[in-house]
Symmetry: C2
Subunit: 549 residues, 2 copies
């Protein structure tokens, strides 16, 4: 069985037809949902690209793998999904974005060259790169945000798009009065991107994926990782005007959120992204483009499904559709992601298992508390392995896919956020190590702990599903808060770094030293079977005859 | 300046003259104490050799480095003291024991050969090995406990001691009726080891150290790591009868400790080591030998000090005397180490800084809460570096050595213990990951948390310095217990794995993406200086002229 692990960037859980979006129809996402299980309480481990992705790729929490924000290198030697799958005879390929930053210093310390196979995998968080393009070719006075080579820009140049950065000038820009109208500016979001639709990012990566599926050795795991519907919010015709102002939902926000907000939330509401998304004209320009980008993703997903069907491999390919985090789009007076309201931290997760054991669950939903790290465990099991739970902290979703109730399941989902690099850290006067947030969600109560001496935030999603009312200061809820803090404390003591010894290794070690002559409790030897002490009883001569034993 | 980092194995903090031992005179330890600072509240990070040592060698807590018990490999790539010091131009040598187990699987995954310089350092937890001998050549029906080559056994053979394991037959055995009388058996502890004193382990390693000091390139850090006074408890003449039954102190134990003990403590009191040390004849045989072994260590320390004085290097060498953990010797009805009573978890720590800045503190004691991980930080500072506090969790002791009060200092010392490999885990019916203990000590209150659903243990060292009365079940102390649990929870959330980004790196990253064209908040560009958006404003032509900027 192959694994087609598709990630969209910044795709909100509720911007899919199968998730109940009133205006956006996504027949291909819905088709996979009908073939498999849609997880309705799936959470990313950190609502920011880099940290979230490193958790998907290691099956470990951000504070376990340490790459807690964009551009924080994943430490050399950290065991990845690719390491686990290759051990099981399955290749693990990357097609698209990872946001991985190599631990160049660590690699140099260990003498690993990025040109070597081992070094390249270290540099690509365990994947073999079919094509890697992180899809953010932003450029400013200090140069490009991403200094790597862009295969997508090379493709555009090969198709005759001119300039040094056609990603910016064509794929992510419209035209106004014959000039480039950059997609970085929301006022241009309703313009058609100045590019042939088939040359835009999502179709290009889809074509790369089809080429991969035609050529790759079986079995494969392919991480197909689209940059869209991530900003810049602009999309080519015909998607640019499929949706309009009438399709833009009311912002999920309430004046009470701005009355004496938690300092960290308050700081985020003041940042330029939030201020932009607090303007109705921004939402009315951006959200139709965002919907168009998703519609394009859905059509391109259709191409992949049709290809798998045509080659007969649909029946032999596990398909996973998910996202690294959501997008506030103005909800809660915020833009982007970063915090823990549902539009940001909850992710779409649809899993199709083609095998007969999954018949009973096809087209169902599962509301268990699922974390993004569960996918790595699921893939290891799908590849025929046992989950190395001393390394992978997630749990296999296979029981849910096969209609079995797992004996026990997590009581809380945990998500983390390190904002030490952001202006909010500076504005709040925090040290880099205090700019950290932790979410503990039990399915009803969502506690957010902020380092740095702040009170917690607390939401009751039963009585306040929109998360408008922060109850973190309510003395009547001290017990709920203490209970969730206990969960966080238990999690903080978790066994996350004992990665060189499995429980089975440990059981095999028991009593071993006894049979190798470590006997620090003998008075005269009579305490144990003489076999254990024969090397230590006289006479000397006899000992020597025994040799090394 | 050189660093002579001497570790004794299983040396109790209070078995030194300078620490007030009534019968044991240790003029050479005392001499270093008069030259430097003796830390009277120093704690190991785990009362077991392997885990404790990996913390000394990484400056990180056991649950940060992951090598939580003997024989748990230190994960490949974990940054060590050697890595830090070599960066600063100081070699870092090993002479003696580390109890390091190489992460062979991780090294193979990264293609590191143990024969390469890099591979050898990975295999030796960052040291260059002048001589490595872990000093436990136990042998049983399944062979040797330690399958490596023993330089000490080779030495003994070269001196004409016969047999395959003269460590066992001579260095750690006496003679009775012409037969070997093994030092593994306590009944033989009062016999002289059947070896010339100068050939026994402590003088041998001392001679290796002097040879090192004669040959090594400056500046060096030398980790001189003696196996003694660790068991087998037997010592050659004249040390075997320097002390007798009259010198054996009363066991520090109380019947109340056996009334309804905490289940984990109860399980330890039942193990064969504890049962042996509950017998007075065992203490009367073992403790005089233990004292003799320490006396021999003191004499050999004198040889090292005299050598440094003769070569004039005493004034240019920082000297540290410490141990990886203590030894119950029957106190609290226990033998060996493992738990968190002072005789087990507190360690001797004496630091001599030859530099003038340390004049004011010579011969003083310091009662600050010190952890073994503080030494790695101290050594980095001694070598002229800045402590990389995103990797090293310990704190430099230099302020205390130089008579400066640090602005702030830790409020609690933390120690951990993983007993998953032991029979106590099985006897208590625990899963391997629940067989873990955490100590939180604030200088007065000592809380011990046990995973697995047990109540905590609690001792008040002000009113009960002998730690006889476990107050962990006292409802009147709920607030103290909660306060210490808060400390443990904060520690559990510590930033321990963000090892690829320092605070300085993070500060340098701030605002970087803005000047590299990542502007996800623009409505029309007027929000920012036009310099930041020049790449995105029309006309297209002009953009191209700009080139890559």
């Amino acid at each position: 069985m192959n694994i087609l692990f598709i990630m969209y960037d910044q795709l909100r859980f509720d911007y899919l037809g199968c998730a109940g979006h009133p205006r956006l129809h996504t027949p291909n996402f819905d088709r996979v949902a009908r073939m498999g299980v849609r997880f309705t309480n799936a959470y990313c481990q950190s609502p920011v690209c880099g940290a979230s992705r490193m958790s998907f790729y290691t099956g470990r929490y951000p504070s376990s793998h340490g790459a807690q924000w964009n551009g924080f290198p994943l430490r050399v030697g950290e065991v990845t999904l690719g390491d686990h799958l290759r051990k099981l005879g399955m290749d693990c390929w990357l097609i698209g974005k990872t946001h991985m930053k190599a631990d160049a210093e660590g690699m140099a310390r260990l003498g690993l060259s990025p040109d070597s196979v081992i070094g390249a995998r270290q540099a690509e968080c365990g994947f073999d790169a079919w094509v890697r393009d992180d899809g953010l070719w932003g450029e400013g006075p200090d140069g490009f945000y991403d200094e790597k080579r862009s295969p997508y820009n090379e493709y555009l140049k090969s198709k005759g798009y001119d300039g040094t950065n056609p990603w910016a000038d064509y794929a992510n820009a419209g035209i106004e009065d014959g000039d480039i109208a950059s997609g970085w500016m929301f006022r241009n979001a309703d313009k058609p991107a100045n590019i042939a639709e088939e040359d835009s990012e999502t179709p290009w990566l889809t074509s790369e994926t089809i080429r991969f599926m035609e050529e790759a050795k079986r079995p494969w795991c392919a991480h197909v990782s689209y940059i869209k519907p991530h900003w810049p919010y602009i999309v080519p015709a015909p998607y640019h005007d499929m949706f309009g102002a009438n399709d833009v939902p009311q912002a999920l926000r309430h004046p009470v959120e701005r009355e004496d907000p938690h300092p960290v939330y308050g700081a985020y509401m003041e940042n330029p992204i939030a201020r932009a998304f607090q303007r109705d004209e921004v939402r009315q320009k951006v959200i139709p483009a965002y919907m168009g980008l998703i519609k394009q993703c859905d059509d391109q997903l259709g191409r992949l499904l049709d290809h798998l069907e045509a080659t007969g491999e649909l029946s032999d390919t596990m398909i996973v559709l998910t996202s690294d985090h959501g997008d506030y789009l103005g909800d809660h007076w915020l833009g982007e992601k970063d915090l823990f309201h549902e539009p940001s931290v909850k992710i779409p997760m649809i899993v199709f298992d083609p095998r007969p054991q999954a018949e009973a669950t096809r087209g169902t939903t599962c509301d268990a508390l699922v974390e993004s790290i569960d996918l790595a465990a699921t893939f290891v099991e799908a590849a025929g392995g046992e989950v190395p739970d001393h390394i992978i902290e997630g749990r296999s979703l296979m029981p849910f896919l096969h209609g079995r109730e797992p004996e026990d399941w997590r009581e809380v989902a945990i998500s983390e956020y390190d904002y030490s690099v952001t202006g909010m850290c500076t504005n709040l006067g925090l040290s880099p190590r205090d700019a950290r947030l932790f979410m503990v969600f039990d399915g009803r109560w969502k506690l957010i702990h902020a380092e740095g001496g702040f009170r917690p935030m607390l939401f009751d999603l039963d009585t306040d599903p929109e998360e408008f009312h922060d109850l973190g200061g309510d003395p009547d809820l001290a017990n709920q808060i203490a209970r969730l803090y206990d969960h966080l404390a238990r999690w903080g003591r978790r066994m996350s770094q004992r990665v060189t010894r499995s429980d089975a290794d440990i059981e095999a070690m028991r009593g071993r030293s006894l049979r190798r002559g470590i006997l620090p409790f003998l008075y005269d030897g009579s305490e144990v079977d003489s076999e254990l002490t024969q090397k230590y009883r006289g006479p000397a001569r006899q000992n020597h005859v025994d040799g090394d034993g």
